[in-house]
């Protein structure tokens, strides 16, 4: 199965990725070949096989008590932010 340019444009938008016109044909062809490879999975009989999400049998997501365990690091963490004002992250106006 091969993907069309429209398919890839839709995927790119879902993934919030801008793809240039120059890059587009490369993705259309390489994503099509990848889909061809993963389509081989359809040849495997998986009737009555449970999907496996975790590689260790019996391991469960551990929960911790809901108590404050960290101190406030927001100033240090926000030093990596592109734009900050008064402890808030700045983005283009969303609501006019």
């Amino acid at each position: 199965m091969s993907l069309t340019r429209q398919d890839v444009e839709k995927i790119a938008h879902l993934a919030r990725l801008s793809i240039t016109d120059r890059e587009m044909p490369v993705y259309v062809s390489s994503l099509s070949s990848i889909v061809e490879v993963v389509n081989e999975l359809s040849r495997v009989d998986t009737a009555n096989v449970e999907p496996m999400a975790h590689p260790l049998v019996g391991q469960r997501q551990r929960l911790r008590p809901d108590v404050v365990a960290e101190s406030d690091h927001h100033e240090k963490y926000q030093r990596n932010a592109p734009q900050v004002q008064a402890g808030l992250y700045l983005v283009p106006r969303v609501i006019e």
């Binding site: 240039t20 030093r79 983005v91």
Partner: protein
């Protein structure tokens, strides 16, 4: 020369006060300065911090403290957060990111007295098998500068192979420790899923990622892994199980050990490569191990399974890079969608975008069952094959890679061909199993690796088998010309 000594030998000299950690650190920093321009293995050198850490280690040694890693230098893969030091993950997206804390692996090795010399180049976000997807350019293989060192821990592998450090850290999602270790002639260990904490290790595929070590011998790797491994409440996938004393268990006899030769790994393997693997297995039988052929019928489905599961998880993990909280932001975004799309489109490289889109596709409405759930079902069949094999044998063996190092540029334009390079390593990740690669010979002057895979938490057995092999062979002692 100092850079030829094992970690154990260096520790002995440091303990005897014949050598100081500052001298040792200066020696490796000088090698990095002289040799790294030809390799591009190290992308950030932390000389001042290293000398300060070495001086602290010397003070601890002077006070009488003795520990196996106290004062020993290393290089961290740039996927591990290092407090106050740029942590780029090989990406333009994080070119300006100064980590605000240490990864648990970094903190543990630091507390053990290890001295970080710098950060290693890597495939962008660990997505690649050649180290060519890095924003900082390809890494060259010390055995031949026209060849790739493998990936994604290509910088870590080249740095350890070229003796720019006694060892380095790496991560392995589909072979990213074992494959570059094989292609650069060193030892790489990928532990069991959950054995080493991933806190502060930038996520790629969360059901597969695991941290490990690249070193010049199994014994050195065992010493480092013992300190890295262990439970960490900060990582919800970390397993709460005691860490065996890996170095103390290296000399378990191989007599009676049953090693399964993976039939599927020998299908289509070039005769010269197959011979080296069979020669290596003959060494194991001469040491008392038994070998028998085993078959894992679903193993050939590893590549299609992996290229659904890993991209799906990557598309989810990498959604955090939004141009808002950290990382690259595009110039003059016209609205929020434009900010997201252009920051991500410009900040990520071609392979990362390809994987995010593959993942987005297989998770999208109408395809989730056919791809993602299907792959998770096949993943269980592959895992069951491994479990059945380990009822008959103690370890599995085969080549780490189909071929020795390939030329820079040879596969980068054809992602599917590149993906097939991981055909022998991916299975262990899907099943969460530990694996080791050890050098087992040369083809046309390039190293080849033998891979051993064990049941969950069998690191001691794997490292012990690799160590016994290394005592009976000399492939791991060969040095690339120009890096003596």
């Amino acid at each position: 020369m100092l850079h030829d000594l094992s970690i154990g030998e260096l520790a002995d000299r440091l303990a005897a006060r014949e050598l100081s950690s500052v001298e040792l650190t200066r020696h490796f920093l000088a090698r990095i300065e002289r040799l790294n321009p030809g390799l591009n293995a190290v992308i950030t050198v932390t000389a001042a911090e290293a000398l300060a850490a070495a001086a602290r280690a010397d003070a601890r040694l002077a006070a009488g403290e003795r520990a196996p890693l106290l004062g020993i230098p290393l290089i961290h893969k740039d996927i591990f957060c290092t407090d106050g030091v740029r942590t780029s993950c090989g990406s333009r997206m994080l070119d300006n990111f100064i980590a605000p804390y240490d990864a648990t692996v970094v903190a543990k090795l630091k507390a053990a007295g290890m001295v970080m010399l710098g950060k290693a180049n890597m495939d962008e976000f660990a997505m690649g098998s050649s180290n060519e997807t890095s924003f900082y350019g390809p890494v060259r293989n010390p055995w031949d500068p026209t060849k790739v060192p493998g990936g994604s821990s290509g910088g870590s592998a080249a740095a350890s192979a070229a003796r720019l450090a006694p060892c380095s850290t790496g991560t392995d999602t589909g072979g990213s420790i074992r494959q570059p270790a094989a292609l650069t002639g060193i030892t790489g260990v990928k532990p069991t899923y959950g054995r080493v904490s991933r806190y502060g290790m930038i996520a790629f595929a969360s059901s597969l990622d695991q941290a490990g070590v690249l070193a010049r011998s199994a014994a050195d790797a065992a010493t480092v892994l013992k300190v890295m491994a262990g439970f960490d409440p900060k990582d919800s996938t970390s397993v709460d199980a005691p860490v065996p004393d890996y170095p103390a268990l290296l000399n378990a006899p191989l007599k009676g050990l049953k090693i399964g030769l993976l039939r599927e790994f020998f299908d289509g393997l070039e005769p010269r490569n197959a011979k080296l693997i069979r020669d290596a297995l003959a060494v194991f039988t001469s040491l008392g191990a038994e070998t028998l052929e085993v078959s894992l019928p679903h193993l050939p489905m590893s590549v299609p399974t992996y290229y659904v599961v890993a991209p799906a998880e990557c598309s989810s993990n990498l959604s955090r890079f939004d141009g808002v909280r950290y990382g690259y932001r595009c110039e003059s975004p016209k609205d929020l969608t434009d900010l997201y799309e252009r920051s991500r489109g410009e900040g990520f490289g071609a392979e990362v975008k390809r994987r995010i889109m593959t993942g987005t596709y297989v998770l999208s409405a109408g395809y989730f069952d056919a791809y993602y759930l299907k792959a998770q079902r096949v993943r269980r069949l592959i895992t069951d094959d491994f479990r059945a094999a380990f009822e008959k044998v103690d370890l599995l063996a085969g080549p780490t890679t189909p071929t020795p190092a390939f030329a820079i540029g040879a596969k980068i334009d054809d992602p599917v061909t590149m993906y097939l390079n991981d055909i022998y390593t991916i299975g262990a990740n899907l099943a969460g199993l530990p694996g080791v690669s050890t050098p087992c010979g040369f083809v046309d002057g390039l190293p080849l690796g033998l891979q051993l895979i064990g049941p969950h938490f069998a690191e001691a057995k794997l490292l012990g088998a690799a160590h016994q092999y290394q005592l009976a062979s000399a492939w791991h002692t060969h040095r690339p010309r120009g890096y003596e």
